[in-house]
């Protein structure tokens, strides 16, 4: 009996540790963001104040609000493009046998293993040739490197699992491939598309290196770079309150998104990994 009790207690202790360890840093950021002025320099474990001054400061001074819009724009357009390009390609790869298909799939997948810095020099050259430096389109284009392979792969696996006979009737009727894709498969792949779209959104939202390299003014920057470069009035002052406020502003929507779509995201991640 005692053994039983100890085991259960030990188990719940472990659970508590896991919860605290996972949540505490974010909780502390929220705590700090609500402190104002010099209260920040005093270490507190529980909320002591509730001031919105940091949030007001970070949203009104500088261009942080604009940075959020930039990130939103880039992430949405990236997702849209990935889905369009990815779905059409996945359809071809999933429903048709042709020589070298496996190799092609593997090659596409291998792109996601490129170190970002390995394409950085060459991509810089492409961006400058297209005259896209410092434009948000340079980011949209670059982010497809990560989002496309993953999207193609997951959607291909998804489409491949669908029964063979689905499109036969439509073929008999002489429907064009585009029609078949849009009218038959698109509705069926909707859940997979939501998942890959979400994951692509999160990837694009978080990206740092390309955003750092291809944009140069504050008004063109995206959120990760803006937060990384948040500086105070002098060279030596680090505005922790503002940084935490900015962090919270940017993270809360993501956390909410992730919690709502938990199941989809988890299945998307694991489908991507396990099915491969």
């Amino acid at each position: 009996m005692k053994m039983r009790f100890l085991k259960t207690a030990g188990f719940y202790l472990l659970v508590a540790v896991i919860i605290v360890e996972s949540v505490f840093p974010f909780y502390y950021a929220v705590l700090t963001a609500f402190k104002s002025g010099n209260a920040i320099f005093h270490v507190d474990y529980w909320p002591t104040s509730f001031s919105l001054s940091n949030y007001a400061a970070v949203l009104t001074q500088g261009v942080f609000a604009r940075n959020i819009l930039n990130s939103l724009f880039v992430a949405c357009v990236t997702v849209a493009l990935s889905l369009v390009l990815g779905t059409t390609a996945a359809y071809a790869l999933a429903r048709f046998r042709f020589g070298g298909r496996k190799l092609l799939l593997f090659a596409i997948l291998s792109v996601s293993m490129f170190p970002q810095v390995a394409v950085l020099a060459g991509l810089f050259e492409v961006i400058r040739a297209l005259g896209l430096y410092n434009s948000l389109w340079s980011l949209v284009l670059s982010y497809l490197i990560f989002t496309l392979p993953f999207t193609v792969w997951v959607l291909t696996a998804f489409l491949r699992d669908m029964p063979r006979g689905l499109e036969e009737a439509a073929i008999m009727d002489g429907a064009s491939p585009l029609r078949i894709l849009v009218q038959i498969f698109l509705p069926l792949t909707a859940p997979a598309m939501v998942t890959t779209g979400l994951l692509a959104f999160i990837t694009a939202w978080n990206e740092f290196l390309f955003a750092l390299t291809f944009t140069s003014n504050d008004t063109q920057r995206t959120v990760p770079v803006a937060i990384a470069l948040l500086s105070g009035a002098t060279e030596f002052e680090v505005p922790w309150g503002n940084i935490m406020a900015a962090s919270v502003i940017v993270t809360v929507p993501l956390v909410v998104l992730v919690l709502i779509f938990q199941r989809r995201i988890v299945s998307g991640l694991t489908a991507g990994a396990i099915k491969g």
Partner: protein, 316 residues
Amino acid sequence: MAAGFAGHLSAILRGRRFAVLLFLTPMLVTLAAIAAWPLIRTILYGFTNASLSDLDAARFIGFRNYLDTLTLRSGRTVHTGLLADPVWWQAVWNTLRFAAISVSVETVFGTIIALVLNQRFPGRGLVRAAVLIPWAVPTIVSAKIWAWMMNDQFGILNDMLTRVGLLSHPIAWTASPDTAFLAVLIVDIWKSTPFMALLILAGLQMLPRDVYEAARVDGVSPFRAFFDITLPLIRPALLVAVIFRALDALRIFDLIYVLTPNNARTETMSVFAQQNLFSFDKFAYGSAASTLLFLVVALITILFVTLGHLDPERET
């Protein structure tokens, strides 16, 4: 009649095939333009003396960025180049060390969390949601939050450890060369363990429950059950998770750049390459470093794939 029908069908299919393969083109062209071509250009730049001051005036110089021999007036020879650069090798060592330690720790912690989440207990949903939070927080944000927690003067980490008595005086976690590496590890482990946990959990959830019933009836202890039954069965899922994490760890840039900039003890290959490309005026040198990093990652990927007998189309 049947033969005619079959011939008709195949004719349609052939026409369709072309049209459908056309679907592949936009995606392939995009990937070629933003992935394949830039990679080739980076590799080519590594063989030139390109400088950002005048990219168009780059001249081909062969392997000189990789290894070069200078003969001094006195006859002494000196080696320069990436392969003779102690800073590069330090970066390589930092990267390998970081990847090995972080992936191992994340695998162990991830397995523990996965095992917990695999049990049915009240509040399981809450735990799963909580565990997802580190993964949801953007990398830069986690770097900043932890930098704040690890602040040497106002950081809560120092405060906690001092109160508990583990520290006698505050440590500058991210600045001090001895602890910077540990700081980066801590943040990465915090951030990436959820990912490992989820993948391993997926593997666990596919295991048949009756095997455990049988083991329990036979009086096998949970520990033995884990090592003798569970572990072998989730090996494929574990391997996939480890590969993914290892590749990410080898390429890591964001965390190091934001948390411990300009620190020789934590500089990874990606950071080394990026600094040479854009901060120091060594564009060609940075390109060569990027190429080497690519080769290392490619090699390890191939190794893992062949060792793990992975197949992109295998059904689990």
